[in-house]
């Protein structure tokens, strides 16, 4: 297990795109994601969900403010270090699965370790274990196009977990799945969450978001409110925002 209390922390983060008129995709967002927590992000289209995911996923750097992932401030890192941090501390699950089409299930799961220089035998061993945990022990050698949507997403989840990351980022993970398969995947999320994995899920569907401990509502690049689901209480976060 990773040490420390906080998996990811955003401190007064702004992301401004300058294509003609400046667009404030994120406008002063502060958010702490504790280790082992399960957070959902909701908001209408254009509210800044993807931008937030890109920052947390170390794919991008903020215009202002700090993004801390696994104890390191992303904005201060060079490209190489940031890539390394992404590879080791972040696991991605995408709506469209994003598996490598010519690699089989084991190889897809092992891919992140390949880039960390882990040996082939060790990689395969770890990948096999994870595939077993997501219930695909009998599909190891299958190519993505030989798997169903739900199975592909399981492979993607196993891949996200292979480097034992600080946080798993899922962007509409059940957007391309039917209701039954969606439930299976979300059950798996719950299972790993209970095992200690930190989850951050972007969704526009209420019933998906409700699997989380809390829901962060985004609107126009700002946190509108944070809805705690354990006790069912809702905290208005606008007070802690650096208001404009």
């Amino acid at each position: 297990m990773k040490t420390g209390e906080t998996a990811v922390e955003l401190i007064d983060v702004r992301k401004t795109y300058r294509v003609g008129e400046p667009v404030h995709a994120l406008d002063g967002v502060s958010l702490e994601v504790p280790r082992g927590s399960y957070t959902a992000i909701m908001g209408p289209s254009g509210s800044g969900k993807s931008t937030l995911m890109n920052l947390v996923g170390c794919l991008d750097t903020p215009t202002e403010g700090e993004v801390v992932v696994g104890g390191r401030e992303v904005g201060s890192l060079g490209d190489r270090e940031r890539t390394r941090l992404r590879g080791t501390e972040v696991g991605f699950v995408f709506q469209t699965f994003n598996l490598m089409p010519r690699l089989n299930a084991v190889e897809n799961v092992a891919l992140p370790q390949l880039f960390q220089g882990v040996g082939r035998a060790e990689r395969r061993e770890r990948a096999r274990k994870l595939l077993e945990r997501v219930g695909l022990a009998d599909r190891e050698e299958h190519l993505p196009n030989e798997l169903s949507g739900g199975q592909r997403q399981r492979v993607a989840l196993a891949r996200a977990l292979v480097n034992d990351p600080a946080i798993v980022l899922a962007d509409e993970p059940s957007g391309n799945l039917d209701t039954d398969t969606e439930a299976e995947i979300l059950d798996l999320f719950d299972e790993f969450h209970e095992g200690g994995t930190t989850m951050l899920v972007v969704t526009h569907e209420r019933h998906v978001a409700e699997r989380a401990d809390r829901i962060v509502h985004l609107l126009d690049g700002k946190i509108e409110r944070i809805e705690e689901l354990d006790g069912g209480s809702t905290t208005d976060e606008s007070g802690t925002e650096a208001s404009t």
């Binding site: 794919l59 010519r102 891919l111 880039f115």
Partner: protein, 420 residues
């Protein structure tokens, strides 16, 4: 990430597009095959010709007199200027081991007992040492002033009953005159023994210049004083050894005598003719030059083919980078460094180039060997060119893959993941 992993992954994607990849490598295959085929053929040709020059031949200087600007092979523009007296004088000189005339005598036929075969040329008159000891399979050299002959296997085998040492042959000289010779030796090769003869396989009978050439040339002019006045078109001057300096000394010594007032040849040389004395190697150099020119030409074509091949690889790699934008995004999202992506695409290009070079080498060797086999040359394996071809394949791969791979490496993962 380790090189082997790059290769494994790259090989995957190449196999994913078998037809496209094969077509892409075609340019490299053709270029490399052309070079290898020609180099193999050239090397075999060279071995077939140069290989025939025995170390003993290296001491021989082949001489004739011609106008200074006469061009062509041995004996081009040669005029009969050398007398028997000149040859004797040459033989007596220091630095010269022996000197004798060389002439081909026109014939009609050769008979072995009752059996007669037509033969137009192939009766060669020379000195005894023209037949070198190690060229003899059986018997001995002929002797001067004797009706003796040494024949080559092709001449021996052209009769139903093979000619052997001790047999007598009847030669019908052009003009109808007949002479009988005793076969005293058989050579071990049917190819020519010197550049004067050419190197092709043919039936040949070697006889001493005296009496054969001397008699025939007698009475043709220059005083009409019997055999002594026969003039030779071609001479062979033997140096004391095959050592370069010895050969050079012999050449200088012979040239200075032949061009001096003392020689009979000088009377006929006048201002127009010049004596040339050259070794087999020097004479073959001309052939070699033509071969080199042809080889350069083919290499030029191959270079163009390789260039086209490289552009083909670069083009396909660019297409491939665009096509796999999303895959690049995935790899970067899961932690691939820029250099990993660069390495992956580069090794793909290198594999294409190298595989092209390997196939090209195989095709080229096959073509070269078939060619060499067809024209009956010894097969020579141009190992260093095979190695070079592989290196060229790798270099072509790197050069053509560099830009596409760099494009792939700097792809922004966010854009790439959005790419449809």
């Amino acid at each position: 990430m380790r090189p082997l992993e790059f290769l494994r992954l790259s090989w995957r994607s190449i196999r994913g597009h078998k037809l496209r990849s094969s077509l892409t490598t075609l340019g490299v295959i053709i270029g490399v095959a052309a070079v290898i085929a020609f180099v193999t053929l050239g090397a075999s040709l060279q071995a077939g010709i140069i290989g025939d020059i025995s170390p003993d031949d290296q001491r021989n200087l082949y001489g004739w007199a011609a106008e200074p600007d006469a061009e062509g092979g041995p004996l081009a523009g040669a005029q009969p200027v050398f007398s028997q007296h000149d040859l004797e004088e040459l033989s007596d000189r220091e630095d010269v081991e022996a000197a004798y005339g060389y002439a081909t005598i026109q014939t009609q036929a050769i008979s072995n007992g009752d059996e007669q075969v037509p033969q137009g040329d192939g009766l060669i008159a020379a000195g005894p040492s023209y037949i070198r000891e190690d060229d003899l399979r059986e018997g001995r050299q002929f002797e001067m002033n004797e009706s003796e002959a040494v024949i080559n296997p092709a001449a021996a085998e052209q009769f139903e009953e093979n000619v052997t040492v001790g047999d007598e042959l009847t030669l019908t000289i052009l003009g109808g005159q007949q002479t009988t010779v005793t076969v005293v030796g058989i050579t071990d090769t049917s190819e020519g023994l010197s550049p004067f003869e050419g190197f092709e396989t043919a039936p040949r009978v070697y006889v001493p210049t005296d009496p054969f050439y001397a008699e025939q040339a007698a009475g043709l002019g220059f005083g009409g004083d019997g055999g002594d006045q026969a003039r030779y078109l071609a001479i062979v001057v033997e140096a004391e050894s095959a050592d370069d300096r010895a050969v050079e000394r012999a050449r200088e010594s012979a040239t200075s005598y032949l061009q001096s007032e003392q020689s009979d040849a000088s009377d006929l040389l006048g201002d127009d003719l010049e004596v040339r004395l050259q070794t087999s190697t020097e004479l073959l150099q001309q052939l070699q030059d033509v071969l080199d020119l042809l080889q350069n030409f083919i290499v030029g074509i191959a270079a163009i083919s390789l260039l086209v091949g490289s552009i083909g690889i670069a083009n396909i790699m660019l297409v491939s980078v665009t096509e796999r934008t999303r895959e690049i995004g995935i790899m970067k999202a899961v932690g691939a460094q820029n250099r990993d992506v660069l390495g992956l695409f580069l090794s793909e290009a290198v594999i294409l180039g190298t595989v092209g070079a390997i196939f090209g080498t195989a095709v080229g060797l096959l073509a070269g060997y078939l060619g060499a086999w067809y024209i009956d040359l010894p097969l020579v394996y141009p190992y260093e060119y095979v190695a070079l071809a592989i290196v060229v394949g790798v270099v072509v791969g790197i050069l053509s893959g560099l830009y596409p791979a760099w494009r792939a490496a700097r792809t922004d993962p966010i854009d790439a993941l959005r790419y449809e």
